[in-house]
Amino acid sequence: MSEDQLYFFYDLFQYLINGICQGSIYALIALGYTMVYGIIKLINFAHGEFYMIGAFTGYFCIRGGIPLYFAFPIAMLVPGIIAVLIEKIAYKPIRHAGRIPALITALGVSFFFQYFGQNVLGADPKAFPEVYEETIYNLGEAVSISSTQIIIIVTTLVLMLFLRWLVMSTKVGKAMRATSFNKDASELMGIDTDKIISFTFFIGASMAGAAGVLVGIYYNTVEPMMGLIPGLKAFIAAVLGGIGIIPGAVLGGLVLGVVENLVVGFWESTYRDAVSFGILILILLVKPTGILGTKTKEKV
């Protein structure tokens, strides 16, 4: 193998690591998207903002001297609670008005947090405080992985497995699945679907909050508009993997992250977003149910 060929593989490997890491972030946000969509068929546009709220909660906690292992759960809790409140105030009253008003409300909530954040916190990016000394591990000659990258990938895997366990093996998970399958029937079976929906929002927003803190540490910056693009990307990831399917969200996130980094690595940064949106449109046209989705037909 010539040196160029060898380096091609080094590069490829490094881009894959970077991509998996970025994809993990998308995946964490996509999990919430997918769960909320699964249960009330709402594309919660405001989901990216829970990620932003999580990042800022982490930022203020750590600046206030709270150690990371406390700040992290707090940063999951706060967006979770806010999400539940938002669901009660804005989404629940119009749950029966159809999908479009719900989607518009979600847009409104998203804008509210973005601009409220800009006015209160300022639009300029804040530097996330350094929480630990980063270590770089060299894998062979020209490939490296940082401690933060490892933490991100591991956290994502752990949270995904936790969610899968929660949904598949617990009582509340069973109720979630039942509600998602048929809300009215679940109510007749004695499931408090309002509670289940709130719980789903809580879990989804907590995942986004976790992603927010990880991103704060990884990229070192937080700002009020930070949720917009990752929110859209996570949505693409959720659709890509099959919306409503938990492993699908993770798969979609990873695929998207890797593809984006390959585009940047072997092509041009400029085309990255265009490629992402292109993937979205392609998947919607070719297989709208996503990679892991199964076909359903509208009942006539």
Binding site: A90, I94, A97, G108, V109, Y115, V239, D273
Partner: protein, 290 residues
């Protein structure tokens, strides 16, 4: 009063945008979140014509040719985007159109001929209040007359019940595409008029936020109502300027006020101020009598 004249002109441009989006969202029931993309295409092609190859004829003739070019280019884009996307439903369509309009914007940013990220400068001032409102009248007449014929009814039937529409022989895809192409075409005309009145356009002036603001206009007025779209456009064009006149603090909170307004409107009247009804003077007078 130049400032008020210009605000009135801006109202006209947004009326065209709102009425044309209303055809897609309100009448055909196809939830598009990409109107700013077609607006941008009209603005940039119209501007390119005016800067690179204006004809040696009076300005107002050039204006009409420019608006035609903007409108037709946007329609063509509407066909190209509509054919794949209109097979999607509801929220999926919304996201796909959003994606396309962002791709359009990214393409413009990367085109140095039209100024790229700097913006497109030196556009002649061809548009004035009169020409803009002539186009407003053309747009409203075009769309409201269309809605009174069988093509318009077919478009509405898609919103009402797509499966039933198909069952009585309506090629729903064709009429969706018709609504989408006409709507995007008028957005393109609005783009060209915008370029000829602002004399400077910038890709960021056509981002996702603007698609949402135009959507907000028609939702405020009531999806499916042309008069509602007109009133929604006027209110939301004037509101930021009124807020500006009210002082710095309120102006600063403009977007927050907007978003709260949107949420409250959905909670209070998800069908908008006028619902699907058209407002007319006699009905107003009649209501006063009773």
């Amino acid at each position: 009063m130049e400032y008020l004249a210009h605000l009135t002109l801006n109202c006209g441009i947004f009326i065209i945008l709102a009425v044309s989006l209303n055809l897609i969202n309100g009448m055909a029931g196809q939830f598009s979140l990409g109107h700013a993309g077609f607006w941008a295409i009209g603005a940039y092609t119209g501007a390119a014509f005016s800067v690179f190859s204006p004809l040696p004829i009076p300005d107002w003739m050039n204006l009409f040719i420019g608006c035609g070019i903007g409108g037709i280019s946007a329609s063509i884009a509407g066909i190209l985007i509509g054919i794949p996307c209109l097979r999607l439903r509801g929220d999926y369509l919304a996201i796909a159109t959003l994606g396309f309009s962002e791709i359009i914007r990214l393409l413009i940013v990367n085109m140095d001929v039209v100024g790229g990220p700097r913006g497109f400068t030196n556009i002649p001032k061809w548009a004035n209040l009169g020409w803009v409102y002539l186009w407003v009248v053309i747009t409203i007449l075009f769309i409201s007359n269309l809605m009174k014929g069988t093509h318009g009814r077919a478009i509405i039937s898609i919103r009402e019940d797509e499966i039933a529409a198909e069952s009585i022989g309506i090629n729903t895809f064709k009429y969706k595409l018709m609504a989408f192409v006409i709507g995007s075409g008028f957005a393109g005309v609005a783009g060209a008029l915008f370029a000829y009145s602002q004399q400077f356009i910038h890709p960021n002036g056509f981002n996702f936020l603007w698609s949402v603001i135009i959507l907000l206009m028609i939702i405020l007025g009531g999806l499916g109502s042309i008069t509602g779209a007109v009133i929604g456009a006027v209110i939301l064009t004037l509101l930021p300027e009124v807020l500006r006149l009210m002082g710095e603090t309120i102006s600063q909170w403009r977007m927050v006020i907007y978003s709260l307004l949107l949420i409250m409107l959905m909670l209070w009247r998800p069908q908008g101020l006028f619902g699907k009804k058209e407002l007319n003077l006699s009905a107003l007078l009649g209501r006063k009598k009773s």
